[in-house]
Subunit: 203 residues, 2 copies
């Protein structure tokens, strides 16, 4: 009998619906306007129903965070097409920033918000994010092996680059660059990134 299979499928579909509507609320109305009651209204069920599919709000946020990391990784992977080692690092940085600025809500969940991290506190591995960091680290190591950038441990360089691009995205998204005009911002980011990366290049 396919009833239990259908039920399983329906359960999965409802979880999906909740996540989709929650993300839609995020994108349309911003972080502050995502409440269980609003999600409930969107899916046309009572608020209590949501708790049959997720144990709490943080689990919803955590799932969206994970999906953000997946999208993020897929997006960054495109930088692999670049053959020149330094250009590949540069492109990875540019794509990181592009993703962060074009998907501020995902970026928030992934790297800024406290809520979805509660589940991971005390040693639980954060595998999704690590995948992307490994991509960066491998790109740095590739450039080192090719002799394109100064040799040495890859971790400090990769961490420095990550901090740099994360700093850019979070300062922009949280509106801490009031003195910089919008039309100059793109250029400034580009120049800063080039300046810092060219410092790593072997001469």
């Amino acid at each position: 009998m396919g009833i239990s299979e259908r039920k399983e499928r329906e359960k999965h579909e409802k979880r999906r619906l909740i996540l989709d509507k929650a993300m839609q609320l995020f994108v349309d109305e911003g972080y502050e306007n995502v409440s269980i009651r609003k999600i409930a209204e969107k899916i046309e069920y009572s608020p209590a129903t949501i708790y049959l599919y997720f144990s709490d709000k943080d689990e919803i946020l955590g799932n969206l965070q994970k999906e953000g990391f997946d999208k993020f990784y897929d997006f960054l992977s495109k930088a692999e097409s670049e053959t020149d080692p330094v250009q590949r690092v540069r492109k990875l940085g540019r794509m990181y920033i592009k993703f962060g600025l074009e998907n501020p809500e995902y970026y928030d969940l992934m790297f800024i918000a406290r809520a979805p991290m509660k589940k991971y506190i005390d040693g639980l591995v954060w595998t999704e994010a690590d995948k992307s960091f490994l991509l960066l680290r491998n790109t740095v190591e590739y450039a080192m092996e090719k002799g394109a950038i100064k040799q040495g441990p890859s971790l400090p360089v990769a961490f420095g680059l990550w901090s740099l691009v994360h700093g850019v995205v979070s300062l922009v998204n949280r509106q801490r660059l009031s003195e910089i005009k919008d039309e100059e911002l793109g250029n400034l980011i580009e120049k800063s990134l080039d300046e810092m990366i060219s410092g790593l290049v072997k001469i």
Copy 2:
């Protein structure tokens, strides 16, 4: 008659009391646990009284943010004692990170939280923060003038350095570095900073 002066003084003292207790709650119990009702309980007045001294919660946060910037600027200014231009940049970076890690609640209000920024949206100047950025920019320009780091526009370099240290602080404070052990973190930060700054040095 000194009555109105006394009243003025008392009003000021109560504002101060509210801000102090609010900050104390921030530090002791974290961002999530700061509510008007809890502040009210701490100062032993009703919640409604707080609205006689501040128009809303964001104004309280905004005031604490401003005070954070003042402390921050005073703290960073100590880097001026360093005479060597490159060492001065390095020290400024280190002090930035030190402040951010040792005062996570202030740092949050200053550079991460959305709430206190609402007031400044739409062009209102953000002077307190700009002062600190100017300090960084001047330090970079000083190093350029002395021929210690590569010449060129100071803005992209200063912005890059700011993004770097902000990235470090916010990744650490928001617990996005689960794969790095606590005892290795200090060293990693130091190495990353050195790596990036030495890239700017003229050869």
